[in-house]
Symmetry: D2
Subunit: 304 residues, 4 copies
């Protein structure tokens, strides 16, 4: 059975399935989305595209963007970034302060909130016009120029961001934040507010399926080694404290966001993005994980 | 550059490198090994073999065997085992009681001591002659009939095993141990005492590089899905609290033991076993990790 | 209003009050007790006695005995015991392994299970016939010679004692247990199985109300300083993770047991023992705490 | 030997003793104090006063003031405050976030930083002119009108207060802070910056030695029950994670501050304040604890 047929089967099956989860409700902008939106977009490194359902509708990518901010920081700063953030799974919820206290302000990995905030701090120190340059980088990867921040989402998250304020103050107390707290949080909320379609997400992540080069343009963005290492971190840390479960069921590196998006990468083969806003208890898209599990089970193809 | 040339380069480089670590010293039998032993053995799914240094010398595989006991339990009991042990990385040292207490006696994964002990309990309930049948299973995978337990190692570990006794009593208090504590611990120390050469290890793990079939004999041991899932657990949990680091540097599923052995798997390609008794602070072979990092860096081949 | 009148009021009020808790059920021998038993016994340092309800009925004193084993260890070994057990409140449930792991096998205080087990280990090393000598010591303090161990209770607790086995193995792994694990646990379960009446308990604790001397016989058992220090530990650690609450409400040093007994001490004034088997969620006698709170509130007398 | 003679002996002994600790150095204003200052002031409920050394020199009382803010909140709000802060010892350092996360934003007690910040939030909601009214309350207890805030100390602490900012943001995320974060922290740093002499401190705490009445003026400030309960909290929580040790050695309720001050209360008898800026590892005055231990040991008088 070819891959497109499998994708279609998975989509059709799940379209009829009732999803139990609830969409993220902590900010009104996310709660207002139709919870039954469902889109998938597949993009092979050979340039094949295949989209289904709401795959061309924009949604808030949220934590998925943390892979891209890590990518830009790793590209510009190199291995120095690993002095300020680790590469180990956290084993605890995404916004836990406990480990941060035990481990002297060094976050476990760049995908938990604390780690992503440190990456933002690194970018702020490095870039001249962080907000503009970061968006340019995203649009470069997406071969697109229409991707934008959503200021309403950013403002709304900031208003409820006491937990993140606690995290950054904690890290500042350990000397692991260089820039003013307000500036770092503003930049963090900005990048999390970016909106993309499944199609754009699948395109943006193509470089991780192709050793650091954008396949269509042959443009090298990061080294092979950097690309492999970012995939490794996604594999171990991409799904909060459900990373093991995802790895076990799906067997691909990937990253989820509370907007209901998930992107997964089969290195050398393809990227795939799924969007379904209802989340499971661990904060990952309920139907998104189901879709990817069905995909790798039916195709019997994964990195393992 | 072909793979054998790379292997030889890695071996030659590291042979001349001084390793900083110390071998495991908590039992005399392990402390008496020459700490500068160094062997590597590569085995492709096509039947190519290539060994270097002390690759045909027996050593204590210790925790590496936990992959094989998991394999046998998964094969005989199926998905029921996941009610009694998780698949998430622990983020804490291999013998920690803390998580066990917080999580009601369910170990995080089958490779930390607590999880491996639960797997032993499952096998004890399932097998008629556990000790004999388990050894037969190992010899079947290794295409060999000379692999044995080392009763001295087993006895010595048991004498110092207060921490493991604490773990199993804790799990018993939560109802997650069925058999008598003494029997489970005896079986656990027996299987950890098995001795193999790098060559035997690389052979034994071939099925995980080949979707659950032993390549040379075409014998199916477990399903494709089970094989992929065991690889996924190795990827996330195979190196105690250094799993992220190993995944980041090496990019292959694998498992280490305090005897200084490491085995790694490139699904669809090969298995490789390394032995060097000096350990780093996290309890993994110092030179073993270096060797595998050099191997995947030079070959630019990993699952990512 | 004189103290006896207050005692009678408290007793009468509470006799009519329904208690919400449940008696300890983890061993059949404790579960079989009539849960509505209720006794109080007051004993002043001047020799005044006043008993109410079931104050002359024997019950299992359980953890209350840990004050007496501490007293004997402190008397015989002096300040050396504080190298092996701390004097800080634990802030966690009585049988937590977490702190023990973080604090290298040194229990927080002698009243949590781990600490009481260490005290038993100290007594085993110190006494020739521990079981006999300990009982003699209790009978000496109680001015009585009929107090006994209950072997059924001891055996029954041992059969369910996996959590305590975990604790002692953990401490043994850190080198904080000298004697064979079995022997220490046997002695621990023996002393916890002792049965006394409220009257006997109130008498036994008289020395702590009188700077270390038994008031009626003028016999000095421990020094003034030792007596004050044992009271201080009761104040901070006598009620598991409800110590602050008890101190706040009652304002006296004291100790509870899962048999439903509580004994409290007003230094220079009196001791009082209460027995009511229904326990609150923290494992302390529901009505016992109420009784003592009413007593010190009505009398407006406490150490504070 | 009378109490004054004992006081003089203690003072003379310790004056000649070298203290090993270091004064608090995290803010320049505290680091600039002569570390060998040493003062003691005793004040009985009968109006006897006795001062030694630097007992009339002002110093920063820091956390000692948290007893007074608790007193004012308890007086004005009553038992409602216990919904927002507990009365249990924390068993962890004074500024730990770990427990706060586990316990849903409810601090363990009003003397750890998080708890004191909640009390400040309660006072801000309750008082019309918090800063002015609070100072009036302190001066009322001290029978004095010259006690002041030190704005330099307050500003300096705020500049380094990332850990406290983390704590308050965390509690806000759990809904346990009503007022704007900035306002609460400003008030918190203000009250901690108050400066008093040993004499003023001993006087200010007289009400706790006298069931809630200021002895000299007979003015009732809080009820007997409230006074006893505040003493109980001091006993269990007054010295961070050294509360058990202090209770064990000294046997009196008390409170310390990083400025090197300690005040202790013998209910019905006296208050005593000691000042010596060198701190032990737990953040309590090294010589201050020694002085109080000698005092209660020589006098053989404590609450136990």
């Amino acid at each position: 059975m070819d891959f497109k047929t499998i994708l279609k089967e998975v989509y059709t099956d799940l379209l009829q399935t009732k999803s139990n989860g609830q969409p993220a409700s902590y900010i009104p902008e996310l709660a207002n989305i139709d919870p039954d939106k469902f889109g998938m977009h597949y993009c092979s490194v050979n340039g094949e595209h295949y989209g289904l359902g709401d795959h061309q509708e924009k949604f808030s990518v949220q934590s998925i963007i943390k892979v891209i901010s890590l990518c830009l920081a790793f590209k510009t700063e190199g291995v120095k970034i690993w002095k300020r953030v680790g590469v180990e799974p956290s084993g605890t919820p995404f916004n836990s302060l406990v480990q941060l206290e035990h481990e002297q302000g060094i976050p476990r990995n760049p995908f938990i909130n604390a780690g992503a905030i440190v990456i933002c701090d690194i970018l702020l120190s490095q870039l001249d016009k962080p907000k503009e340059e970061f968006l340019n980088f995203v649009n470069q990867l997406a071969l697109n120029s229409t991707i934008q921040y959503n200021p309403k989402i950013a403002a709304s998250e900031k208003d409820h961001g006491y937990r993140n304020a606690a995290l950054i103050n904690m890290m500042k107390s350990f000397g692991n934040i260089e820039n003013p707290i307000e500036d770092v949080l503003d930049f963090y909320y900005d990048i999390c507010s970016i909106e993309m379609t499944c199609e754009e997400l699948a395109q943006t992540f193509q470089l991780f399926a192709n050793n650091g080069c954008i396949p269509s343009s042959k443009e090298r963005v990061i080294t092979t080694s950097q690309s492999k290492r970012i995939n490794a971190i996604m594999q171990l840390c991409g799904f909060y404290d459900e990373a093991g479960e995802f790895s076990f069921k799906v067997g691909l590196p990937g990253k989820s966001g509370v907007g209901g998006g998930i992107v997964a990468i089969h290195p050398g083969e393809y990227t795939v993005a799924v969007w379904s806003p209802r989340l499971n208890k661990k904060g990952n898209s309920y139907k998104g994980i189901q879709a990817l599990e069905m995909l790798t089970t039916k195709s019997e193809l994964s990195i393992f």
